[in-house]
């Protein structure tokens, strides 16, 4: 009987995903950490290319290819041990790496380093980056830098030439002809390349715990991450909730009015028209209507997957494997798999179709507490 339920749930889940391009239901997780050859368990970011998975840790950059990990450190030419973000140039395949000691380009085995002493990079502390249209945009602790690859030209964007009233940039994303910057304390900045114009988006009410008028704008100015989906919607991670903006309307999500597992959102990554959300309490995915939540039950070490449909009751599935930690700092996709960077290792999520138990959420079900406290980083 139990097996029949599992089978039915899996089939239904898979069907539902396929029918509406909802986020897939990853039910099997394999964790990689120091014991597997990574330089550290503290994973700060992850990226997938055609040939490899790249993981940034506090003790170097690691590449997973052919079933083996290889570590790169400053001895190999990497700018710094702490790797904050990784982005593949879609044109050249070169890897651009944001570190605490500058920006590195990894190209066919060669590292080139750009830092504030040897180049026009604004600051050595680089939190995030994006590469598009032959330009590298680096989000640094002292504003953003644009590097035009063709002309080797650097431009700094900070409080002197943009509406950036804070200069601590955390993340950058390209969306069609626009570049978005996540500014910690400064909201979201939008740059339109064709017009060479900047625009900022801020929290209209300035409140942390609440959104005074719902969907009136960015949920909060402490912005940690930004990404853009295939529908040209911008997704913004703040430490007080999640926002999305389609160019006309804002839509905000907080843990008390949506299945968002925590308001403390570290990271957003889009896939198609879905957004994946890394929080301090686990991993979310949404298409703005339906939600998935992936968490680890620290007591049992098992996974808890919650599906909350646009209408109808939420359902929970327990999986024998889980994320290694609920503090999620990065997300990447490789084929049908997801890779999740966490505080204690990087996890590869796959879809096996075999889930352990599925039941409606009830009072007696294991339930992880939500966190609404602001946490600095």
């Amino acid at each position: 009987m139990g097996k029949a339920i599992i089978r039915a749930a899996t089939i239904l889940g898979a069907f539902a995903c396929a029918a509406s391009a909802m986020p897939p239901h990853f039910d099997t997780w394999r964790t990689f950490g120091k014991a597997d050859g990574l330089p550290s368990d503290k994973i700060l970011c992850v990226a997938a290319t055609d040939s490899a998975i790249w993981v940034g840790t506090d003790k170097g950059l690691a590449r997973y290819a052919g079933g083996k990990w290889r570590t790169f450190t400053p001895k190999d030419g990497l700018a710094h041990l702490a790797v904050m973000a990784i982005y593949e140039d879609p044109d050249t395949g070169d890897l651009w790496i944001a570190t605490m000691g500058g920006l590195s380009r990894y190209s066919a085995g060669r590292f080139d380093t750009f830092n504030q002493l040897n180049s026009g990079l604004a600051n050595d502390v680089v939190y995030g980056l994006t590469v598009r249209h032959g330009e590298v945009w680096a989000a640094t602790a002292a504003g953003a830098s644009r590097y035009e690859i063709a002309d080797k030209r650097w431009t700094i964007y900070n409080e002197t030439n943009t509406p950036m009233h804070e200069i601590w940039c955390y993340s950058a994303a390209a969306c069609d002809d626009k570049i978005y910057l996540a500014v910690w304390g400064g909201g979201l900045l939008e740059y339109t390349r064709a017009r060479d114009r900047w625009r900022d988006y801020n929290d209209p009410d300035g409140e942390m715990e609440i959104d005074l008028f719902r969907n009136d704008g960015l949920v909060h100015d402490v912005v940690a991450s930004v990404d853009c989906d295939d529908a040209q919607r911008v997704w913004i991670a703040t430490y007080f909730g999640l926002s999305s903006y389609d160019g006309r309307k804002w839509h905000n999500f907080m843990d008390h009015d949506s299945p968002l597992v925590s308001n403390f959102v570290n990271y957003v990554r889009t896939s198609g028209t879905n957004c994946w959300i890394g929080t301090d309490r686990g991993l979310n995915a949404t298409d703005r209507k339906n939600w998935w939540t992936f968490q680890r039950d620290d007591k049992t070490g098992r996974g808890l997957v919650t599906y909350t449909p646009d209408s109808g009751a939420a359902e929970r599935v327990e999986t024998p494997t889980a994320l290694p930690h609920n503090y999620v700092l990065g997300i990447a996709f490789s084929g049908d798999d997801i890779w999740v960077a966490t505080e204690k290792g990087v996890a590869r999520g796959t879809i096996s179709g075999a889930t352990a138990r599925r039941a409606p959420i009830g009072a007696d079900e294991p339930r992880l507490t939500k966190n609404t406290e602001a946490k600095g980083r």
């Binding site: 050249t92 395949g93 040897n118 032959g134 002197t160």
Partner: protein
Amino acid sequence: MYAGPAQSCARWCRELALAGSVLAVTCAATSFAQDTAALDLCGPKSILVEPDSGDLLVLCERGDAVIRVDAETGAIQNRAATGDEPFALCAGPSGERLYVTCRRGQEVLELDAVSLDTLRRFPVAGDPTGVAVSKDGRRLFVGLHSLDQVAVIDLQSATITKRLAAGNGPQTLRSAPNTGRVYVTNLLSNPTPTDQPARNEITVIDDSTARVVDRIILEGANIGRDIAFSSDGSRAIVAISRPKNLVPMVQVARGWVVTNGFAVVSTMGEHTPMQFLIDLPNKAYADPYGVAITPDDSKFYLTSAGMDTVLSIDVRKLEHVQSEAAGGAIPRYQDHLGLSRRYVTARVGVGANPEAVAISLDGRHAYVANRLDDSISVIDTDSDHVTRTFALSAPRELSIEERGERFFHSAARTLQGQFACASCHPDRGFDGLVYDLEPDGLGMDTLDNRNMRGVEGTAPFKWVGTNPDITTQCGTRTAKWIMRTGWLSSMEVVELSTYIRSIPSVVNPQRRPDGRLTAAQRRGKELYERTTRNDGTPLTDVQRCDFCHPGPKGFDGRKFDVGTQGSRDRYAEFDSAHLNGVFESAPYLHDGRAATLEEIWTKYNLEDKHGYSSDWTKQQLNDLVEYLKSF
């Protein structure tokens, strides 16, 4: 001018000798072009053997033309004008199109392979050098020397779709048979600390994805020139030099400044490339340049552009040496001057400054482009003798400048023929290395090699500014300390300095064609010319950029102490270096300690002696660098 086919060579020589003139062509066994298309000037830079006819397509660097030469008679069959200073030539996969890069013209031309008519022009800034076409004929790969990039041009839309990071100064691009890859040689070493050996890169591009997939490092090598492949594409030969700049140059007297050779690179699997020399213990073959492998892979030809020689290298004999070296039986084989006798089977004298070489379809002839002779030497590959020489232009008296150019590119006057001026100033520029040049003590006064492009009007010379003019810089001093031959005639000094003064600046891709400055460059200019600090405090003269670096070339002619005297420098004051082409001449400062322009101030101006920079914002430094790059 050319007098007609009936005129004999002997008569020419006699007449012109009587007139005290110097001939531009080798007279012995020379055939002259037998049609009316003879050129005034050619400068054969690149040769391609047409796959159907076996005729030669020759690119004339100095004549700004491409010509078709009958491979049997040497007659010029047709010619077409190219852009300014054509450099490389390649054929499209169908054979219907040719592509020509023009360095000063800053463009790539698409030609009809039969008529040689120009069909399209692709503007490409950044000093376009080598060129290759993708197998499907859809993309063009173009090396951009000044920008250290390979531009990928989509031939359908005629647009540059991406820029690939190459090594330092891309030079030759060639598709390797059966591999789906394009190999790019680079003129200069990748940046290394000034006390570390050079590391020359071969950049490997996947033809179908147009992405860099490998970077092969040639340890200790510099000046990567031509590359040729075996018929199956499994092996490449690359012309290189191996500089000994880390050894104090007092070693010039002992005959060891730069060695010359080639690298053997396997294109299959992961094999460490091996390097071998072509020099003999007491005779060097400077400036290895062109490479061509015979169709049966039994031998290859390598030109020594500085010694007017082509070397014939037996592949089987080389493989024996390779095998021994790989097995550890020959320690330091890459620097071994005694090995070349084992695989170099002939050293064939040709015309002046032979650069390109190509093999006939049947493998029976090697055609050598003598760039400064306006001729092609034809070598019989069985006997390894020159059997004919095709003159590509009419005989004429060489100008003073041309004679200086020959001197500049010839190693014949240097001790043991080790190097020419062009060995350390390749492509009339610089080699990116730091030298301990004078016998003033080991490791004393190491100096960054300076750019020769646009050097006219930037006196005095030397980093300490002791030579008031080029004639002094390149005269007795050069003969004594560098060439170690002790003497140059007054005429030779005049010729050489005249040529050096004629070397033009590179076309600067950082400068708009209309001469207008970008917004960042304008801001940088304001900082460059500022007279007060950011807080309004007046600057002293030497705290201003434009006091020591005034004028369009940014130099003053005086010496200043900018706080860069090192523990092994005898002098504290250095010449205010001109800024002409500074965007491409890294490293910087007298000893090359600054890897980038930014580092001059971020790392080496802590006392504000190299201009007052303590109050600059990072944005101001960026603006200044943008302005400097516009010189």
